[in-house]
Amino acid sequence: MRFMMFMLPNIPAEGDWMPSAEAVAEMTKYNEELQKAGVLLALDGLHAQAEGVRVSFAGGKKTVTDGPFTEAKEMIGGYWIIEAKSKEAAVEWASRCPGDNCTIEVRQVFDLEEFPPDVRAAANPNLV
């Protein structure tokens, strides 16, 4: 089973937030642990939400909004994709993250086989 772990850091949406070298070192150690255990498939960190853009669709109309987004309660700071035998195993990995003042949301990645045949036929998983 594949899981995506979203890092939701509790940091201000505005301003030049930068992690400290110590925090990065600790996080790197954690990432290395995932790699050494053979469970890490992908990971990335994201630029601040303030620099993000939202493209919304409603009533056939599309709206482009620049960040920061005042109504946003949580923002995504980065993600990992890991392979785990169970949801509990994924949660165990998430709980080993050295984060402080943050939340990690663990979500199972859909496998195409979980969809009914017509949905499967309509999908093209050959998209990297």
Binding site: R2, L41, E88, L112
Partner: protein, 434 residues
């Protein structure tokens, strides 16, 4: 947290911690069997105490400290029988006397590198040549994969008691042969690494092409082997063949979903819907292959097989496959690891690159090889070439012979279907003669 959930959480902790725990304990008590017993005792203690106390912040350190406390009691008792235990017990006690009550401190005392070396020693001892192949497989899955005896038994379709016995006997053999908990060096190292890779690939293949039973694959076993391979690649970053094997497994695993048709029947590589290949695994596989190539010592047998698999992975359609390159890679493979099976595969690549007559020539040379006398793929491949050359009656006979030889029920159906298909079109199949 409900009790069942907690049980599963403890199970998850165990899978992560067991290898390091057993490795560290083996270094301390110098006996892998005893180390595993102690680790199991610690697990039992966790199952009793964590429902009350909750899972500790550093569960690995908790398990280690608990196991070492048990070790002191046990070794004291055994010390009356054997002197060597006396010294180990004394050392452990001293260590515990010094240890900070905060459990983390004990764990921090052991460096990352040391943990890595212990794990590697555990890998080597689990795959030690003094053990039978079955024992190496069982011990590796148990000690390094964190699988239970029951899970191993189900994966290999044998009784749980059989696996349990294999493990007990393996631990006894290691103890009686006084196999040291060491990092082999010099010439022995290559031999020992080769044995480890063999064991991992054997586990992988049992999952990828089940030799018995009516399932074509057992993907969970593939995942276990893949995880073990990735762990090993981190422990032995300078061994090109380790990366070669990981690359091979990643790329093969990327096709797992595409290898099974709607009715559970196997789908051959060239007929697979490439849209169903797993691109995350392909990327991982190509990266591992690049690591093997970057070590610049020429590819070994696993690396070459991975390079062949990569040719398929890079082709967006079956028609785009670079068969000339694949034929050349098989040629290189037959130099470094000559075997009739490699030769058979080379024949297939040569047929695709240069036509069935050239491939048939290679296959005919293999007919006299006793090693392939009962190998179903020989008549299956020969049948394929004959069909392409329009020699339908001979081809049908070969497919039927292949069907009679395979033990896999799904594969047998596939072969009989090919024979049947030839029966209908008496005019021969459109082939690519010459």
């Amino acid at each position: 947290m409900a009790n069942v959930d907690l049980q599963r959480s403890i199970d998850a902790v165990w899978r992560i911690e067991a290898p390091r725990l057993i490795a560290g304990l083996t270094r301390t008590v110098r006996d892998v069997g005893l180390a595993e017993e102690l680790a199991q005792d610690a697990l039992v203690a966790a199952l009793q105490q964590w429902p009350e106390s909750g899972v500790p912040d550093n569960p690995g350190a908790w398990l280690m400290v608990t196991a070492k406390r048990r070790a002191v009691d046990l070794l004291r008792r055994r010390a009356t029988l054997e002197r060597k235990y006396e010294e180990i017990a004394r050392r452990l006690e001293a260590e515990q006397g010094r240890a900070d009550p905060a459990l983390e401190a004990v764990d921090e005392a052991v460096g990352d590198e040391e943990i890595g070396d212990d794990l590697l020693r555990l890998v080597f001892i689990s795959c030690h040549p003094v053990l039978t192949t079955d024992a190496r497989v069982a011990l590796t899955l148990r000690l390094l994969g964190g699988l239970t005896t029951d899970e191993i038994a189900r994966a290999f379709l044998v009784r749980e008691s059989t696996v349990a016995q294999r493990i007990v006997r393996a631990k006894r053999t290691l103890s009686e042969a006084r196999v040291p908990f060491e990092l082999p060096s010099g010439e022995a190292r290559l031999e020992r690494v080769t044995s480890v890779l063999e064991v991992i690939y054997l586990i992988y293949n049992e999952g990828y092409a089940a030799t018995a039973g009516d399932d074509w694959m057992r993907p969970e076993l593939c995942e276990d082997a893949l995880r073990l391979g990735r762990i090993l690649a981190e422990l032995l970053p300078d061994e090109a063949e380790v990366h070669g094997l990981v690359a091979l497994m990643e790329i093969q695993a990327s096709r797992v979903r595409a290898r099974i048709g709607p009715a559970g029947e196997p789908v051959l590589l060239l007929d697979q819907d490439r849209a169903r290949w797993d691109h995350v695994l392909i990327r991982h596989g190509l990266a591992a292959l690049a690591r093997a190539e970057a070590l610049d010592r020429g590819l070994g047998p696993y690396g070459l097989q991975a390079a062949i698999a990569a040719c398929h992975a890079r082709a967006h359609t079956a028609e785009q496959t670079d068969w000339v390159r694949i034929a050349a890679l098989y040629d290189a493979l037959s130099q470094v690891a000559p075997s009739p099976v490699v030769e058979l595969n080379r024949a297939v690549a040569v047929t695709m690159a240069f036509g069935p007559a050239a491939g048939l020539e290679i296959v005919e040379a293999l007919l006299a090889d006793a090693a392939l006398a009962n190998y179903h793929l020989l008549p299956s491949v020969r049948g394929d070439f004959l069909a392409k050359l329009g020699r339908v009656d001979e081809a049908r006979g070969e497919f039927e012979r292949a069907a009679a030889l395979t033990r896999n029920l799904r594969e047998r159906d596939l072969l009989l279907a090919r024979a049947d298909a030839l029966g209908i079109s008496s005019g021969g199949l459109p082939g690519r003669p010459g």
